[in-house]
Symmetry: C2
Subunit: 464 residues, 2 copies
């Protein structure tokens, strides 16, 4: 299957083309009411791809397609579906279907669905769950969103120190299907406190008669239920673990977080960072699924803020009307100066913000970074400044004015680089997100300083 | 250990504080030549944290600290070290040490180190490797950088269809230590072609006398050696796999890629995206480790490009000197207009670029997205435009001029949103990185259109 490589007519890669093929074939077969055909083409397809195919169907067909799946597969596919489609299907299911599917979802995936549903529906669904699943779900829902407690699963495997390796294998064999992972195993004492860690690889290598307490690693990296999900993701990335144990304030093991959830968390955090950098506020829902009004709300705050700061620039310009009237040529170079300042500053803030977020800046001092950026800004300002002198002289023939433009550009580049590099550190130090130093904010700051420097130099050099 | 929570005096989280503590304690113990003490404090520490502590030591102490580690641990720590420190240590090692450590690194980590070393050193090191490791390394080095072939490891476990589960377990027990993972197992035929997949979990549940060919899953998702590493990362994320098999053109299994490498790839790709969005070009080395000159080179290209485009804006303004001379008040609002245009456009391009990169835009049409963004731009332009009318009237008292400013702002917002949303699609369609539609590029485009619209409206409404 994976070797099929149809001639590429678009920018899609072979796997994406394959997915689209499945989706359109599924639709045709369902329209022809060829149920067995539809079942057959879905057989070799991964749950995530079936979920995408179902999402691509008209709403009326979604429940139809879903019913074709075998029970085990149905649950795997349901977990992969978009929350909107999950809700649509929920309304179509019989009471019995709902109970089965929701009950068999893994607790962390179930909580993700519940977060999207109205409280009334959640209460009804909770009541239908089996006692153990209800308890697991309520436990997770009891923690704050975006913490380890909320995203963990209580379906882990815990071992006792006194067990032998052979006993443990029997236990694992019995429980393998009901647990999220069997590759990371945790040792707990009688109070259910976390005392050790063991990988299934360690267990495979060990002799059957060895005792768990002797072969387990006593130094376990764990997180607390209130650790942020971003920190959890960073730890799993740092240590290349497949799972992390979550403990409560008394060091009792309450759940684990597996690596597959972490990649999704990192992606969501990255989207948040990139949106913030672009001046778009974080929202509850997916940007492209939001209503126009909520999009406007997410974008208006920063626009209005920078608008208000930029009015400063108009005040400064207004105050210099006399100068401008006599030297109208100065106006032509304003966009060049304020833009370049914004761009150079934006480059510096971008690299510093990213460095802070990936913690790759930890070994450098704030002052060192700011100095280096200012130096880079000076060199870039020199190159662009010389270009600006040439261009300004070419355009209006006055060498003095050209020199004013060039020197302004140099100074603005240095200042903007230094500000762009320093402010993210200040934000981070104040406990704010460094990414708030977004492109729009940087542009505006460069504007205000840009016109100030430009007019001051013009007055100084052109002697008004 | 993980429960230690010293009172937080900084913005560091407990685990970061712990790491810093280890680092400074290690330094003190080494200075006191207390080798046994240094050994003891490193015992409960994870390899990634030991690596960070060593990176934080003065160069002369790094080799000293490294020699304290037990052999197995030394290799794990060496793999986690920064390539610069890896090189420093290499020079300090005896010939025998080098052979041992390089030989026992996993092939994918070794290739990462070799990529950073001079070709001469690589040749010498390759010659010292054992035959099998040399072959594995040469295989990986034969593929293009950033492809599946380059990042895979040939240390996977492959099974034969005719084996029983019991036989397979014996095999796994024998080979567990030399393989990168034993949790994902691949079935191959006599030509070494990939025919099936089995997880260790499946194997644990199976009966000892069952045959591998009967329980393996025949539909395996695999990638080719020339698949890009970003695509590999996306597939592992999509399907929640722990590893992906890599096959050559004849479908022969040549390696696997494990999930821990993928998170690092995704982070590197994100850094690339964010830098591109901020107008910084991708470089060979880590931004903060580059020389000032190479930084300037990475930043100059886009600055010069947008500088050249912005000269258009000065041409337009120069052509309107007559208008400006009569209506000098118009100048005061130029920064407001061109900035807002740039900011609104930057928001639109940011969300579209991120949507394209995470493939969360696949179900929406280009036209639909551009229309929605233009509508959001219209609403935002209306809000800001009304503010601008009020501010302009307040500042200079001429209602007509204020209206010109307001309408210009509205039109610029709509246009910039539409352009910001459309151009990333165009770039992607041309096979370019959509992130090239960076904040600096957007600002510049908004500039040129901004002054055009502003002056045109001014002439029209103020009737010059």
């Amino acid at each position: 299957m994976t070797q099929a490589r149809p001639p590429s007519t678009s920018n899609l890669n072979p796997r994406q083309e394959l997915r689209q093929l499945v989706c359109s074939e599924l639709k045709i077969l369902l329209e022809q009411e060829n149920w067995s055909g539809a079942k057959v083409i879905l057989l070799p397809v991964q749950p995530a791809d079936i979920a995408e195919a179902i999402e691509g169907l008209p709403e009326a067909m979604q429940a139809l397609a879903f019913r074709l799946l075998a029970k085990d597969e149905a649950i795997a596919v349901y977990e992969e579906l978009d929350p909107n489609v999950q809700q649509v299907l929920l309304q179509d299911f019989s009471r019995e279907d709902v109970r089965t599917i929701i009950d068999q979802m893994s607790p962390d995936e179930r909580v993700k669905l519940f977060e999207e549903l109205p409280a009334k529906v959640v209460r009804k669904l909770l009541a239908q769950l089996s006692a153990s699943e209800r308890e697991a779900t309520a436990l997770l829902l009891g923690y704050q969103p975006e913490t380890a407690g909320r995203i963990m699963t209580p379906e882990y495997l815990s071992l006792k120190e006194r067990w032998t390796v052979a006993q443990t294998f029997q236990k694992i064999r019995r429980l393998a299907l009901t647990k999220e992972t069997i590759y990371s195993l945790y040792v707990t004492d009688n109070q259910h406190c976390l005392t050790g860690f063991l990988s299934l690889r360690d267990l495979v290598i060990a002799q059957p008669e060895q005792i768990i307490g002797e072969i387990a690693e006593p130094h376990v990296v764990s997180v607390h239920t209130d650790t942020s999900q971003e920190e959890v993701a960073r730890l799993l990335q740092r240590y290349d673990f497949l799972a992390l144990p979550v403990v409560d304030a008394e060091n009792r093991l309450v759940g684990i977080i597996t690596v597959d959830d972490v990649i999704d968390i990192l992606e969501a955090e990255t989207t948040k960072d990139i949106h913030t950098l672009g001046g778009v506020q974080v929202g509850d829902s997916h940007y492209f699924q939001s209503t126009i009004l909520s999009i406007v709300r997410r974008r208006a705050f920063w626009l209005i803020t920078v608008f208000l700061i930029t009015t400063l620039a108009s005040l400064i310009i207004k105050a210099q009307e006399q100068l401008l009237r006599q030297m109208i040529v100065l106006v032509a170079f304003m966009p060049l100066l304020i833009d370049t300042g914004g761009d150079v500053g934006c480059q510096s803030s971008t690299v510093v913000i990213r460095g802070l977020n990936t913690q790759s800046l930890r070994q450098y001092g704030v002052l060192g970074i700011v100095k280096r950026e200012a130096m880079a800004g000076a060199l870039l300002g020199l190159i662009l400044g010389l270009g600006a002198v040439a261009w300004a002289y070419l355009l209006q023939g006055n060498l003095l004015v050209a020199v004013v433009v060039g020197i302004s550009l140099l100074l603005i580049s240095i200042l903007a680089s230094a500000i762009g590099a320093a402010l993210p550190f200040l934000f981070s130090w104040l406990g704010l997100d460094p990414a708030l130093m977004s492109a729009p904010v940087m542009t505006t700051i460069a504007d205000v300083f840009g016109v100030l420097i430009y007019f001051y130099l013009a007055q100084l050099i052109l002697r008004f």
